[in-house]
Amino acid sequence: MSVPADNAPASRQAGVHEESRPSLAALLIDPSFWADWASVVGLVGLVILFGVTSPVFLTVANMQAMLLAAAILVVLSIGQTFVVATSGIDLSLAASVMLGAVILGLGNAAGLGIFAACVLAVLATSAIGLMNGVLITAGRIPDFVVTLGTLSGITGLGLILSGGEPTMVGSTFLLKLASGYLGPFGYPVWVAIAAVLVAHVALYHTRFGVHLLATGGQAESASALGIRTNRVKIAAYTISGFCAGIASILLVARIGSAEPQINTSLLLNSVAAVVLGSVSLFGGRASILGPAIGALMLTALVNGLTLLSVSAFYQPLAVGVIVVLAALIMRYQK
């Protein structure tokens, strides 16, 4: 900037203006801008596309339904984000949701109060996360092997416990949770918003958050500085398990029963949302809003395709294409 800093305010404003304009133009041709904002750009693009092509898409009712449908995935993506930030991955996430749901259903059927059954489900999924973390750090086994094993193990456990049969959960508390509204949003949406806020503060405003990113970035350097990287990783997997527990409550509330069938698209979409949210899969770099918006975007995609009566068979294909594209753009991240 050639304008001296001690000029009159008017000319200083002009100077600022001069400086910011080319940077905006430069921003739009800079691939790293698109990489950082992939999920937002994608969401806006989809909203415009579906808003134009489907008369129903932009209605308040559809928006509310979409947010409700996105709540579970948002919560799961947050859990996955904490793990991916440590350069790990939690493949057992969707299986944990299923086991949490089964435990919730069976606990309730066995006479536990609905509240106690929910707490039990969250404790169980958190314990699974803790176990993942301990096996990965103390057992020195690669993360995807451990969580793949856990995926299979707890899927089997869910089937054994439930006998492969769904358990009906007739609870007014869960019914209210699923269908109640506070202001413009349903309760599950508020749960997701609360999860986003808490996770954001934990990641950006606590020592744990910095240590998490340091562990994911360069674990050896972090531990040379006295950060207990193993504990940080175990905490990340436990958080992931905790999120799976919250998601299992939302899921049981939504469908009214505990299904021992594992929902594989939840796992893939949780990883996809994290990738779309420009969280580095190599660890050390993360945000919470990014994956949350990524989860919204994936839900909008499925919702819009359904409204356009595109066969459900095309949805996994669309999700796959978008995720790989997002990962490609990610290479240009600064």
């Binding site: 910095v210 990113l213 340091a214 970035g217 360069q218 972090a222 950060i227 600064k334």
Partner: protein, 254 residues
Amino acid sequence: MSTVNHIAPSEAILACQGLSKHFGGIRAFTDVGFQARRGEVTAVIGDNGAGKSTLIRCLVGVHVPDGGTIYFDGRQHPFSNPDEARKSGIETVHQNLALIDELTVAQNLFLNREIVRRIGPFALLDRKAMKEQARAMLSRLSINVPSVTQRVRRLSGGQRQAISICRAAGSGAKLVVMDEPTAALGVQETANVEALIRKLREQGVSVILISHNFDQVRRLSDQIWVMRAGKMVATVRSSETTGNELVAMVTGAA
């Protein structure tokens, strides 16, 4: 064994006697005596495999020595891990294990000693205070970086090394240990880091410097210790020696 014991213990910030370390059947060093004076730059030189790095790692608690005693700040002080050493006031600038690329300059400077504000039961980072103090730390050592909120990934090798040293010194360390601090740097960057080391000494911080560069050692240090094949073979005042003499001591030609 020409190890000289002419320094009074109270003058030494860090000293050891009869120190030995073996890895299985392989002897890293035996019966080493060494002293670093308070407020001085003490250099340890030697050929590859002479045992310098292992000795330093024993002194700062990375390895536990097999035998011998270590004194730090006048007290017998065997450190069982680097954390203990750090808490007692020894900071180490590692050759490769230095900074976290994805974190900012300020986050790196305060890594694992973050400033927090207590709000009820929660402790939240005081990012503003950390940024301000980071700026102050950097300017005290005349280190130039574009911004303390910049990610370290985008800095040059010299800037990164300067920040590592700043972090080590900034914690109020009594002794900063540096392992080949200029090994990967260009000429200008090396000069900057050397200026930084002088600045540390001016501010009363003791420094132990491991280096291969004999000219650098003579420029920077007050006392030079020479290791050869797992033994401490000589020590000289830097002002009383020449490059040729150092080469002779390191290679054993003298």
